[in-house]
Subunit: 612 residues, 2 copies
């Protein structure tokens, strides 16, 4: 019997300059769906856990999913590799247009192995695939690369690239797409993996419409949901993700002074409202998105004149703003653009600079270490200067570009006290003290501290999911049941990242059944909700198993001691400390993981995962 | 005005072979009392925090206190140095007769600096002080050294010595006294400090009665308390500390299978009751003690025939028995004797072997690594063989002799999961899940995981202290108020270790007022309860400050993740997980420590401690 749904994968070996194509058959795509699920399967099976993330044995996997490029809105793709930042499972999900365009070439994913000796970029134009010299692009920033390649090849290409930071193997560098309408696979240092392979960019252009098995059914279903997706998330549409700054500061979720404080009376100055009234020029969308949360900003005057393009997202405002106490929106917009151009993760950058500011306050870093810049809290010039140093791998930036975990280990002593990360990944701008589920989620997320791997907090602030058994909004400070809740949501989010679709669609009323229906309409399968959720569980467990092979166990499923023991003290989450121990035990029990946090054989058999 | 109470200190420089005497005047003794308090003052002021604990800059301080050698029963002395096991504050308190005898020489303490090139021992006979060659003692075990020196010099000397383990700089070696009636400064690796100085022994003999300012008043007060000290702690008297095995297993306090399980049906086989019916020969006392908890045992037949001398204490039974699942009392008695002879800490040894057994179960240590011995749980032969290897610094023992923290770091990966220690010191045989105060106590104790530094658990099981505001027995699983409770008890225990007196006197009805009265009677002071408790607080904070200078901060005030997140599951403490975060915040607040866990300037000023 022929497969109803398979995925064509491009295999590129940069050492041998070899290009192959192979298909992933239905028995695999049905179990691992696509996106980060399929990528997990490939990384797990084809690499040893102890490889050097920056060596030629690491794979760099770009993987779209069944939804990407179809009429389902908000499709995405994942980038996966062993992370040079954390030494474990590395993934990042990206919106924009690149994933859609990849699917239109006829390929669902690209697995890149080996390393080129000289800079190259990969060119995929439908079936025409070339490894092209990129010496003339080396050193260019992401905005420039996008522009040069479009001028050279045509405006209808979509470019994923690394900036100078990825070239220099900076461990907090990412892979960026869509030029000035910037979208990024920012987390986990995947830019450095591309840099280690001397891969400057991957250019895609396609004209093939991805196959949809039941096209009419899909159209009909989408027609029903699109109006609510367009109407419900008004604040997100009007103010972008920056709409969260004010409410998150109020509920005690916003990082303030490197996670030391509970309130910040300057939050308004860097809010979505402030942006809308000042530097906002317009907004931009990912493929097919009816919301369009991306901000276009422009600064024409003053010290930050010249900024033009993507504006800062909530996470950027949280880490560079709140956590560094920088209340200058224009400076953050400039800093954000620099990060996009250099190709570095704004979360890691903000986290590292807040860390440096605390080290400076404590006398562990001196002004001369920072090239004469005062790293006092709130200094916008320090933010800008440190980003230049990080992006160029110079001065103190060389240390900070290693990420907070490594930087703190190199400084040692008290610096270990205030390096705010889990498993080496800096915290995004949501405080585990404001939601117990976020605490458990950061502690157990496979890529390290990440709110998107569980996305549980939105179900503790407004959303429900009757299909998963959560008909009521969950209690953020509750304890009982959090283990099961977080595990289920993590499984679901694995599906989002495999299909792959934006999690913000939840705000537009998209339900688990919608996702499953669409998957069945596209693939022609008749998958049940149970099988669907089990695929999510399988994907999560496989990533965990990858991490276990890298040395991860219960001891790593934790949070910085500051977060476990130091209250915010003021504001909306003044007195909560997440009871991680209790929740973790319940979580392991629900997941059927053993006392070390390793999936039991029973569970792995049930999920049809083979131990390597 | 002449000091009412000063302490004469012997200063020995082993590099320069120089001996000096100086006096600590009343402004110091009144603030730091004696014992580990005075030793803390000296170590803090006279050494840099970053010295090599096994280098000649480390000090090895023996310090008795105002009570030692007086008619107050159960006097002790402390041994203090920077710990080669933990790299931070190291102290151990010892009973027996050595402290008393030191005081009778006229000296209250000995501060040893530098290192000898050839083995030496220090001889103090009243005012006659010599550094003597000890080449002929090098390699001898502690029982032998005691015997040889007594045969040579006289039966009335008291010997503190190191065994072959201390000579070989094994980091879990201690300093032992009183030959076969063994008492030990076992914890923190102080034997290796002596070994690094090539100091085999310190021999004391004295005939001077320590001065008591109000002799009659002291006599009268003691006359009132002695009967209750003799009568109340019957189980302790009859069964030794081993009396705790059965009740502690029942309440979920006893370590089982490296802290993984909640019940052990073999506990009776290694209990005090079992010992009393089988190998018990008699008991022995520390100086002036009306209880006499020391066990004399003898084994005449079978594989462990030949054992004769000190029997295993509760801690030894907990770690070598319960934690290794060894239910053979005779084997543990043999193992205990071997530890006394080699001069190693039975707690660290039991902890390290239980750790090795778990590593063996997980396949991280193979049979061939262990010299062909099967490290299966409960194997008594493995216990014996590993102790030989540790004592001799050979084979796997070389690794285990580094202590569980270092051993786990060297093995890496999953081994880090089950290394049960705080700040590098292996857990004694009390489970933080059975008493929340013990959790907070282990996390904040200055020498690492230790129940004796707070001794709080006894106030959660029977004892009260109205003078400190605890008229009722405290709730072991309670949360509110634990911060203050633990801090106060730690301050009090600093006084016990400075006076220095055995904490078991609490079981005999000795109160805080008794201690204060006796101190005032001995010194002629008129110290108030407030001043007294403040001295305890000063001492605790000074030790903390020493640790802060060594790099300790909030991040280190924690427990192994197994203890924080994994329930015992069965037995008397089946479901409790200590809420460390909440308690720690309250504790810092009460102590007036800052957010990093560093004593505030305000607090240090109040305590008249100068920052170095």
């Amino acid at each position: 019997m022929q497969d109803k749904y398979s995925e064509k994968i491009l295999r590129v070996n940069l050492t041998e300059k070899k290009i192959e194509t192979h298909s992933l058959s239905e028995d695999i795509t049905r179990k691992y769906i696509g996106g980060s699920g399929l990528a997990a399967k490939i990384l797990y099976e084809e690499t040893f856990p102890n490889i050097d993330p920056l060596g030629e044995d690491n794979l760099l996997i770009f993987m779209a999913g069944p939804f990407t490029g179809t009429p389902v809105p908000c499709g995405r793709h994942s980038v996966v590799a062993k992370s040079p930042l954390t030494g474990i499972w590395g993934e990042a999900s990206v919106g924009g247009y690149w994933g859609k365009e990849l699917k239109r070439t006829g390929y669902g994913g690209i697995v890149i192995k080996g390393s080129s000796e000289e800079p190259v970029y990969l060119y995929i134009d439908n079936g025409e695939i070339e490894i092209r010299g990129a010496g003339y692009l080396w050193g260019k920033d992401n905005y420039e690369v996008d522009q040069v390649l479009k001028e050279e090849i045509g405006k209808d290409i979509v470019v994923s690239s690394i900036g100078p930071a990825g070239e220099k193997l900076i461990r907090i560098s990412g892979i960026f797409t869509d030029g000035k309408d910037s979208r990024a696979a920012a987390r986990c240092g995947l830019g450095a993996v591309a840099g280690s392979k001397k891969l400057k960019a991957v250019v895609v252009r396609g004209s093939k419409k991805p196959k949809v098995f039941y096209e009419e059914k899909l159209k009909k279903s989408l027609k029903e949901i699109i109006p609510s997706m367009r109407e419900i998330p008004k604040r997100l549409k009007n103010l972008g993700t920056a709409n969260l700054v004010i409410p998150c500061e109020q509920i005690g979720d916003f990082p303030i002074k490197n996670w030391r404080e509970g309130e910040w009376d300057k939050a308004e100055r860097i809010s979505g409202e402030e942006m809308a009234e000042t530097i906002l020029l317009g907004h931009y969308h990912c493929a097919g998105c009816p919301i369009g949360c991306g901000r276009k900003v422009k600064i024409s005057e003053g010290p930050y004149a010249g900024v033009e393009g993507a504006g800062p997202e909530y996470e950027t405002l949280g880490l560079m703003g709140g956590s560094c106490l920088v209340d200058n929106l224009e400076a953050i917009a400039k800093a954000n653009e620099l990060c996009n151009r250099y190709g570095i993760d704004t979360i890691e950058v903000g986290g590292a600079i807040a860390f440096a500011m605390e080290a400076y306050e404590r006398g562990l870093i001196k002004k001369e270490d920072a090239g004469g810049v005062s790293l006092r809290w709130g200094n916008p010039e320090a933010l800008i200067e440190m980003i230049h140093q990080i992006g160029e791998g110079k001065g103190l930036g060389k240390l900070l570009g290693e990420g907070v975990a490594r930087a703190s280990q190199k400084i040692g002593g008290l610096a270990l006290e205030f390096a705010i990360h889990s498993k080496g990944l800096a915290f995004p701008a949501h405080d585990p003290r404001a939601y117990n589920s976020i605490a458990l989620g950061y502690a157990t997320s496979n890529r390290g501290a990440c709110h998107l791997q569980g996305f549980t907090h939105v179900f503790e602030r407004g959303l429900t999911s009757p299909e998963l058994g959560y008909s009521k909004v969950q209690e953020p400070f509750g304890q009982v049941g959090k283990g099961e809740f977080v595990a289920k949501l993590q499984n679901l989010m694995c599906l989002f990242d495999s299909l792959a679709i934006c999690k913000f669609t939840l705000f537009g009323g998209v339900s688990v059944s919608n996702l499953l229906d669409w998957l069945n309409f596209i693939t022609g399968w008749n998958m049940s909700l149970e099988e669907f959720m089990k695929a999510g569980e399988r994907i999560f467990n496989l990533k965990r198993l990858y991490n276990v092979n890298c040395g991860v166990s219960r001891k790593d499923d934790t949070l910085p001691f500051r977060i476990l023991t130091h209250k915010r003290g003021k504001g909306g989450a003044a007195n909560n400390l997440p009871p991680l121990g209790r929740m973790l035990g319940e979580y392991y029990e629900y997941r059927k993981w053993n006392e070390y946090g390793i999936p039991s054989n029973e569970k792995l058999n049930d999920l049809e995962i083979k131990i390597k």
